[in-house]
C-alpha cells in the first residue's frame, strides 16, 4: 500500500479526493464538539466552568504527542525506504504538531491561572510539553537549515528518531523531578475515570482536531510537492 501511495501524482489524486471528506468530518465534529463542550456538558464540581478549557487542551495535547510519533514513523520510512513522500509528510506535519503543543501550553496556562493561581508552574507534564515544543522547533530548524532544501531531510529525520528514543527518558526524568499535574483520567488500565458526559465532547473534539490535522497535512504536503517540482524545473532550466 505504501509503495502504491508513494507515487506523488497518485498521492495528489487520492488526497484531493480525501480532502473534502476530511474537512467535512472535521467541521461537523467541531460544531458538535464545541456545542457539547460549551453548552451540553456539565460544569465540574470542583473546577466549575473552567473545565471546558479541557475540551481543547486535552485533544491538543494528544495530537501534539501523536504528531511527533507519526513524524518519527515517517522518518523511518524515509531513512529505510527512501520514499521522498515520507520526508515531505514529516515536514508537513511539523508545523501543525508544534501548533498543537503551543495550543496545549497556552490553554493550560489559561486554565492554570484561575485553578492553580498562576499562569505557569514548573510541573513535570507542563515541562515535558514545553520540551516537546522545543523538539519540534529543533526539527523545523534543521530541516530548513540547508542551502538546498532536500539536503536537510536526512539529518532532520535522524533527529526525529533520536528525539523519539529520548522522549521517554526526558519524560521519566522530568516526572521524577517534579509533578503537580493531575494524572490522566482517560487512558487508564482500569477504564476511564472521567464522567461519560465529559468524555463524549472530549472524544468528539479529538476527532475534530484529527480531521483538521489530516486536512492541513494534505494541503501542506501538496504544496511541498509542488514546490519541489518547481525547484526541479528551475534546476533543469538553468542546466539547458
Amino acid at each position: 500500500m505504501f509503495d502504491y501511495l508513494a507515487n506523488p501524482t497518485r498521492f495528489r489524486k487520492i488526497s484531493a479526493a480525501l480532502l473534502p471528506v476530511v474537512v467535512l468530518v472535521s467541521l461537523i465534529a467541531f460544531t458538535l464538539g464545541l456545542y457539547l463542550a460549551f453548552f451540553a456538558s456539565p460544569a465540574d464540581y470542583q473546577q466549575g466552568e473552567t473545565v471546558r478549557i479541557m475540551y481543547i487542551h486535552v485533544p491538543a495535547a494528544w495530537m501534539a504527542m501523536l504528531t511527533y510519533i507519526l513524524m518519527a514513523v515517517a522518518a523511518v520510512f524515509y531513512l529505510v525506504w527512501r520514499h521522498p513522500l515520507a520526508d515531505i509528510g514529516a515536514r508537513a506535519m511539523a508545523l501543525p504538531g508544534a501548533g498543537f503543543a503551543f495550543i496545549t501550553l497556552l490553554t493550560g496556562s489559561f486554565w492554570g491561572r484561575p485553578m492553580w493561581g498562576t499562569w505557569w508552574v514548573w510541573d513535570a507534564r507542563l515541562t515535558s510539553m514545553l520540551i516537546l515544543f522545543f523538539l519540534y522547533l529543533g526539527y523545523m530548524a534543521l530541516a530548513d537549515g540547508f542551502e538546498r532544501a532536500e539536503r536537510g531531510s536526512k539529518p532532520a529525520c535522524l533527529l526525529l528518531l533520536v528525539g523519539v528514543i529520548n522522549l521517554p527518558i526526558i519524560k521519566f526524568s522530568v516526572d521524577w523531578w517534579n509533578t503537580l499535574h493531575q494524572g490522566s483520567s482517560v487512558l487508564r488500565l482500569d477504564g476511564p475515570s472521567i464522567d461519560p458526559a465529559m468524555l463524549k465532547p472530549l472524544l468528539v473534539m479529538a476527532l475534530a482536531m484529527l480531521g483538521w490535522f489530516i486536512a492541513i497535512t494534505i494541503l501542506r504536503m501538496s504544496r511541498l510537492i509542488m514546490q519541489r517540482r518547481i525547484s526541479n524545473l528551475e534546476a533543469r532550466e538553468s542546466w539547458s
Partner: protein, 225 residues
C-alpha cells in the same frame, strides 16, 4: 581488534595534538566558564547560603554552555581538510572512529572544565570535602553532553548557520543530564544518598553510548553524500 583500536587511538592522539597546538582555545573556553559563574553573584547578591543552594545548577549550566561552542566545531575542521572523507572510505568502522572522536572531545572539552569546576565550587561556597564525587558526576554527565553534542554537530554539518542549530538540538536532549546531575550534586551537598542519581546518570551514559556513535556516523555519511 588491533586493526580497529590503532586507528581509533590515532584519531584521539591527532585531536589532542591539534588542540594543544592552539592552547588559547582551551583557555578561552575555561575563561568563558568562569566568567559565566562570576555573573551570577553580581546579579543575585553575595548571600553565601543562597549561592551554595544554586551552585550545582550554576556549575551544570556553565558546563553545558561553555562546551556548546566547542562541540559545534567538532567536525568542521576535518570536514574542510578532507579527513572526514578519508575516515569514511577507511576500512575501520565509522562508528568506532566516531567513538574515538567522542573520547577525544571529552578529553579536550570536558576534562578542563571538570578540573576548573572546584574553583567555581569554592567561589560559591560549596563544601569541598566531597569534591571527588562532584567531579565524578561532572565527568560522567560531561560524557553524556559530549555524546549528545557529537550527534548534533554531525547533524548540522554543512548547514547555513550551525551555531544556533546545535544549541537548539543539544539543549532539549540534555535536560535529563541536567536534572540527574544537579540532583546528584545537591544530594551530595546535603549529605543525602546520591547513589541513585549516579546510577541513573550512568544508565543515561550507557544508552547514549549505544545511540550516539552510530547516529553520528550516519549523519556524517549524509553530509558527505
Amino acid at each position: 581488534m588491533r586493526a580497529i583500536l590503532n586507528p581509533c587511538l590515532a584519531v584521539i592522539m591527532a585531536d589532542i595534538r591539534a588542540s594543544l597546538r592552539y592552547p588559547g582555545d582551551i583557555l578561552s573556553g575555561l575563561s568563558y566558564f568562569i566568567m559565566m559563574a562570576t555573573l551570577i553573584p553580581l546579579g543575585l547578591g553575595a548571600d553565601q547560603g543562597e549561592l551554595a543552594r544554586i551552585a550545582p545548577v550554576m556549575i551544570w549550566i556553565a558546563v553545558m554552555l561553555a562546551s556548546l561552542p566547542q562541540m559545534d566545531r567538532l567536525f568542521s575542521r576535518i570536514a574542510k581538510d578532507g579527513v572526514l572523507e578519508q575516515m569514511l572510505i577507511s576500512p575501520t568502522p565509522m562508528t568506532m572512529l566516531m567513538l574515538a572522536k567522542i573520547i577525544a572531545a571529552w578529553l579536550i572539552i570536558i576534562l578542563p572544565l571538570v578540573l576548573a569546576a572546584p574553583v567555581i565550587g569554592i567561589m560559591f561556597g560549596l563544601a569541598l570535602d566531597r569534591l571527588a564525587m562532584m567531579l565524578c558526576f561532572l565527568a560522567i554527565g560531561g560524557l553524556c553532553l559530549v555524546m549528545i553534542g557529537a550527534m548534533a554537530a554531525a547533524l548540522v554539518l554543512g548547514s547555513r548557520q550551525s551555531g544556533v542549530f546545535t544549541a537548539i538540538i543539544v539543549l532539549p536532549l540534555s535536560m535529563p543530564v541536567l536534572i540527574f546531575g544537579v540532583a546528584g550534586i545537591s544530594a551530595l551537598q546535603s549529605g543525602a544518598d546520591m547513589a541513585g542519581h549516579m546510577m541513573l546518570l550512568g544508565a543515561l551514559t550507557l544508552i547514549l553510548l549505544v545511540l550516539s556513535p552510530p547516529v553520528t556516523a550516519a549523519a556524517i555519511r549524509f553530509s558527505e553524500e
